[in-house]
């Protein structure tokens, strides 16, 4: 145990209708610990979760703030519905900060117990500001009403060791371990910009600590820059009525119906309880959506080697409850137990690997040309324990591998690492270098936006090629879906607030396969409704997966089955039952719209958030290279004939690639026009004062920002 630097006592606030109405501010620079009131204004305009995070962050920073400025904050909040135990997916913690990768607010979310336990300890939100000189551990005891800050130099950095040690120490006994949750990063987060946060929960059946990640945007990098080694919260006494909801009977009734759906239908639908999100690996491969070798193509015959069945039959423990918060019958947080590591500092040890989720298998697998499940799980483990966002890592390494194979970088630049597609050994060594803070791994940890500049300026790479194949937007790396044939999803990734992460909108099936949204107006509506609807999960502390990875048996009878109307109504009813308010489905969207536009204006305030910042790399829109075109030549030739009235038979390959590019880039611009119009923004992507007024967000602080850009 390290030296106690600060300790205070507090009286935990009683939760009323989902809110403790208090938030906690900790400055690790001067060790200030303060309590703030959560106001009615905050609840009305921002609801909670990501909304509260962004509100506090706005007030903490200035346009000059950078990710490593002391005033940058890590803010986390679970939202008013967070912590209920009667419905699936109700334990999400939302985290925001100014991102090292993008320079604008990032929002990322994680399961695990931290957020709900923090609220039940009396805090709707937690702000972490300042920078300490030495590593700290922050501990919040919600039963004793105690907050302490102590030195943390003696603890290990890597999460699988650190979280186990802190859980054991602060629990005090085996039975109390489930009442402790730890937030930590890992040894690599001090050396890379893509560091992530692990949120723990103790699994009493496996007798081990499990982790879920708030992975995107470099939050772990900020945590370690502040010299926070870990946050620990302890609260004993979880029960269904802790949110003190207005109508617990309604929540119970909705929950019982939902759990029956899950029990009866999951096996027939997505099989989330067997394999989790990785159920879609072969589906994505079949539909040409599985990103392969830096998003060049959408699949590979070798994908069968990393099929869901391979993971289920050879690695993932079946039959255990895998919910990452109480009451989640979706139970999709799968794990590979007794997994023997073959490389790195823990080689030879057997560990539990949380995963693989779909993004892991696609990113660390096919997108790197690696079709070896052992290698995927080993990279998964090391990304987690070292504190590395595996999506940014995978997409960055995919970019590096393509640069290497196209001789834009050479062995003398990589320290001799042979970074060809498929070389899992080289990828693992890169991860270990990130952990040690040495070699090419540190350079790779800068992410694609900065690497493009380094490769051009220092290694003489072709800037145009790198702009085309570097899969980043706003500085954030794309998540793992090939989407060249879905114009709507091109917007779903690029016309976003934080950057290309699929949690705003995933429209590929609706657009490319179902052909449900053929016009620009249809796509623009989808890129209005779904991002707004999905933002709402982040305001309330909810997981998106229970919304549509299982649907009611009679969902097909509805007019809008893609929206899963019964589940949308469940959320409205649960919100009303917890808070005592009376919102409807329209107001749900409006609640999100307020925060979504606030975040857009926040981006503008930080020097981003305009049309030029929403530009997509051409690899996102269409075939960059001759190999890509030729790999799907029949499709592209057909499009030239049918969409442009051209005759590919009389065109050279270069002419066909150029014509395809001109057409697709124009389509993207037209889509952008339609989406901005639908969202109430100017042609430059700026929310108009009229729109801000219409949604109740004509706050002087926002108007002052947008008026400079009208």
């Amino acid at each position: 145990m390290g030296k106690i630097l600060k300790q205070i006592r507090y009286t935990p606030a009683k939760i009323e209708r989902g809110y403790s109405n208090k938030s906690l501010y900790i400055n690790v620079g001067d060790l200030r610990i303060e309590e703030k009131e959560v106001t009615e204004f905050m609840k009305e305009k921002f609801v909670g979760g990501k909304g509260f995070d962004l509100w506090y962050l706005w007030n903490a920073v200035t346009p000059e703030t950078r990710w490593d400025s002391p005033e940058n904050e890590i803010v986390m909040s679970v939202g008013p519905l967070g912590g209920i135990t009667q419905y699936s997916g109700t334990g999400k913690t939302l985290v925001c900060a100014i991102s090292p990768l993008t320079g604008i607010p990032i929002d990322s979310n994680a399961g695990g117990y931290f957020g709900p336990l923090l609220k039940f300890a009396g805090w709707d939100a937690l702000e972490l500001q300042g920078k300490a000189e030495k590593d700290l551990i922050i501990f919040i005891d919600g039963n004793e009403g105690l907050i302490s800050i102590e030195e943390g130099e003696e603890y290990p950095e890597d999460t699988h060791l650190l979280a186990e040690e802190l859980t054991a120490r602060f629990a005090g006994s085996e039975e109390d371990k489930v009442h402790v949750s730890v937030v930590s990063s890992g040894s690599a987060a001090r050396h890379v910009l893509m560091g992530m946060l692990n949120f723990s929960f103790y699994d009493p059946r496996r007798k081990t600590v499990r982790v879920k990640q708030a992975a995107r945007g470099g939050l772990g990098t900020i945590l370690r820059d502040k010299h926070i080694k870990a946050l620990v919260v302890k609260f004993k006494g979880i029960k269904p009525n802790l949110n003190n909801p207005a109508d617990i009977a309604a929540i119970n009734r909705i929950g019982v119906k939902y759990h029956k759906e899950m029990h009866d239908l999951d096996e027939k639908q997505n099989g989330m309880r067997k394999i989790g999100t990785a159920n879609t690996i072969l589906v994505m491969n079949k539909y040409d959506l599985l990103p392969t070798r830096n998003f060049q193509t959408g699949g590979d015959p070798d994908a069968v080697k990393i099929s869901p069945e391979v993971f289920i039959n050879q690695y993932l423990t079946q039959g255990l409850h895998d919910g990452c918060w109480y009451g989640c019958t979706m139970s999709c947080a799968k794990a590979a137990d007794h997994f023997k590591l073959l490389t790195g500092p823990y080689a030879g040890q057997c560990v539990t690997v949380d995963g693989p989720e779909y993004e892991c298998a696609a990113g660390l697998g096919s997108n790197l040309g690696i079709f070896d499940p052992q290698a995927i799980l080993e990279q998964n483990f090391y990304c987690d324990t070292y504190g590395i966002d595996l999506i940014s890592y995978a997409t960055t390494v995919a970019f590096i591998m393509e640069c290497y194979e196209r001789e834009q970088i050479r062995p003398e630049h990589t320290g001799g690492l042979d970074l060809r597609f498929g070389n899992a050994t080289a990828s693992l060594e890169l991860l270990h270098q990130m952990s040690r803070g040495e070699g090419f791994g540190v350079l790779a940890g800068l992410g694609i936006r900065r690497l493009k500049q380094v490769f051009v300026e220092r290694f003489g790479a072709d800037p145009k090629l790198l702009e085309d194949i570097g899969m980043e937007n706003k500085g954030l790396e794309y998540s793992e879906y090939l989407h060249k044939e879905s114009l709507a999803q091109q917007g779903g990734f690029a016309l976003t607030n934080k950057g290309p992460q699929h949690d705003e909108a995933w429209l590929i099936f609706m657009d490319m396969v179902n052909n449900q949204i053929p016009t620009f107006e249809d796509k623009a509506y989808a890129l209005y409704y779904y991002p707004m609807f999905r933002t709402w999960f982040g305001l309330c502390g909810l997981c998106k997966l229970p919304w549509n990875d299982i649907v009611p048996a009679d969902n097909y009878k509805t007019d809008t089955p893609a929206k899963v109307p019964e589940h949308v109504q469940n959320y409205v009813d649960i919100f009303n039952a917890v808070t005592g308010k009376k919102i409807d489905q329209d107001e749900l969207i409006r609640q999100s719209e307020r925060v979504y536009n606030f975040q857009r204006v926040f981006n503008i305030r930080m020097g981003s958030g305009l049309r030029k910042h929403d530009k997509a790399p051409y690899r996102s829109l269409g075939p960059v290279t001759a190999e890509e075109y030729l790999s799907r030549q029949e499709r592209y030739d057909k499009q030239l004939r049918e969409l442009q009235g051209l005759d590919p038979a009389v065109m050279s390959l270069d002419e066909k690639i150029a014509a395809t590019r001109a057409y697709r880039e124009k389509q993207f611009e037209l889509l952008t026009d339609a989406v901005y119009k639908r969202r109430g923004w100017t042609e430059d992507g700026v929310p108009t004062p009229e729109h801000l007024k219409e949604i109740g967000m004509d706050l002087p602080m926002l108007l002052e920002v947008v008026e400079k850009h009208l």
Binding site: H502, I508, A562
Partner: protein
């Protein structure tokens, strides 16, 4: 010809829903099939014949991520 998700597809005598799904590569399990607006339950895929000129909708449900 038939229409599948508004795109024209060749038709042949004896074509049923299951065969169409197989030929289209629609392996995703979470789908809703309608022929001329009429819902076809999964257990009827093999028996439900598709006639020339039919309008088939195969709605893939996941909205992902």
């Amino acid at each position: 010809m038939i229409s599948v998700n508004t795109h024209e597809q060749p038709w042949r005598e004896g074509l049923n829903v299951q065969a169409l799904l197989d030929e289209m590569g629609f392996i995703f399990r979470h789908i809703i099939v309608r022929v001329n607006g009429e819902y076809v339950p999964e257990e009827a895929y093999a028996a439900r014949l598709i006639a020339d000129g039919d309008d088939v909708q195969v709605m893939h449900l996941i909205a992902g991520g």
